[in-house]
Amino acid sequence: METEGRYTLVGAVVLAVVALLTLAIVWLTGAADTIAYQTYTIYFKEQSLDGLAVGSPVKMRGIKVGVVDGYRFSNKQEEAVAVTARIDEGVPVHNGATAFIKRNLVTGIAAVEITNGPTEGPLLSKAPDGERYPVIAEGSSDIDKVATALSRLAVNGAQVLEKMNTLLSDENQHAISQTLANLNELSGHLAANKQDLTAAVRSIREASDEFRLAGASIGQAAAHAEVSIASVGQNADAALKEATVAMVKLQRDANLISQQVQQLSESGTLELNSVSRDVRTSADVLSTAGQRLSNPRTILFGPDKKQLGPGEKLP
């Protein structure tokens, strides 16, 4: 009785140990965790993953929503690192979401920060072809943008400094020195020839006075010419009026002559028609008489018996 009781206890203990071992294995392989997480893949190509490790937090708007599950160099995209992130299943990740590395400036510890896509968009749940998990695109942080701008600023500053160096080269310095010396010499010459310059200015002034006088003379001549042209224009206007009157008269006469010629032509046509009809009638009469006279024997002695028509008889 006691032996059978021990066997039962031992069997129960063995079963419990096996169950615990199974649970431990499942817990250790992390299979249990997949139930509560949604896994995503993020390809980082532009950003450094310095300070990022397995288990590093994955945050959204500063709140931890998951952890980094692993990372490896991708064989699909050149120099890209594929980071596998587990995010709580209750956290909605929409299409258009991007991820970037957010690093603590003091400790250097990095985390993955996710910027969610438009909330009206569908959830990111479908894995692309050839991928095991849905893929979140790589984004860029504000610090990265500032760093990029600073980098461009530094490059531009370096170029400006380089050009300044070129501008202030030994050759240019020598040329500037020579130019200044020439200016100094020119100013000395000007001071020495001040009287000549004054005389030249005076000559220019006198020339301008003469030019003004000449302009006034030209103005007077133009005024005279204008008066003459106006006179000629008046004469031409009168001549044109006379010519217009003559042309109108000529046109009227031509129309009158044309009408008379047309009337003459029409009356001539009618006369010709009348004459031609008379001539035709006379020709018919003459033709008939000619036909009668063509056979004198018939006229003198009457028609021959053979000439008679059907039903005609001679007495």
Partner: protein, 200 residues
């Protein structure tokens, strides 16, 4: 000499007054009027947009261009009645009858050619045959007319047609020939009117 010449002149003058012609027993010449057998009617009103049709005088062959009625006793021969004549030559008379008939239709403004009226269309006709076929008694009148219609604005021939009618005589004489001729003319005028109606 002078006396001889005066005698000859007197004889000639008196000879001019002598009638060697028909004796008193000779039959007199009968003149027949070529007419359209269709009863005359008032012309229909002509629309304002109706075209002007110039109808030329009908031409004929030299033998038919006479006031004498023509007959034929055998094929290929022609003769003229000696005591029967038309009041007017057939060609001229036929053109007058044609104008009257077309006026009556009311489809054209009909005008004779050669006047001052400008025409849109021109109708030219020719009497090819018009005689009494007397190869058998009482025979028949044979009338053949060729007509051409010309568009004067475009100087284009619109159509050409030959019309032929044979009308038997009731009596074997000139009177029967004249009566049958009237009927033949009427039928040909009917045909010409119908032909012109085919042109829009």
């Amino acid at each position: 000499m002078k006396t001889g010449l005066s005698l000859i002149a007197l004889v000639l003058a008196l000879g001019g007054c002598v009638n060697f012609g028909q004796s008193a027993n000779a039959p007199g010449v009968v003149y027949y009027v070529l007419n359209d057998a269709e009863p005359a009617a008032a012309p229909a009103p002509v629309p304002a947009e109706a075209p002007t049709l110039q109808v030329l005088d009908t031409t004929t062959g030299g033998f038919y261009d006479s006031d004498q009625l023509v007959f034929s006793r055998s094929t290929g021969t022609r003769g003229q009645y000696q005591f029967a004549r038309w009041t007017e030559r057939p060609g001229r008379r036929f053109a007058e009858l044609l104008r009257t008939r077309l006026d009556r239709l009311g489809r054209y403004r009909v005008a004779p050619a050669g006047g001052v009226v400008r025409g849109d269309l021109m109708l030219d006709t020719r009497l090819v045959e018009f005689y009494h076929d007397a190869t058998s008694e009482p025979g028949q009148v044979r009338l053949e007319l060729r007509a051409e219609l010309v568009d004067l604005k475009q100087r284009r021939l619109l159509g050409r047609h030959t019309f032929e009618q044979k009308v038997p005589l009731t009596t074997y004489d000139a009177a029967g020939a004249a009566q049958a001729s009237n009927l033949a003319v009427s039928r040909v005028l009917d045909d010409v009117s119908a032909w012109l109606a085919t042109f829009k």
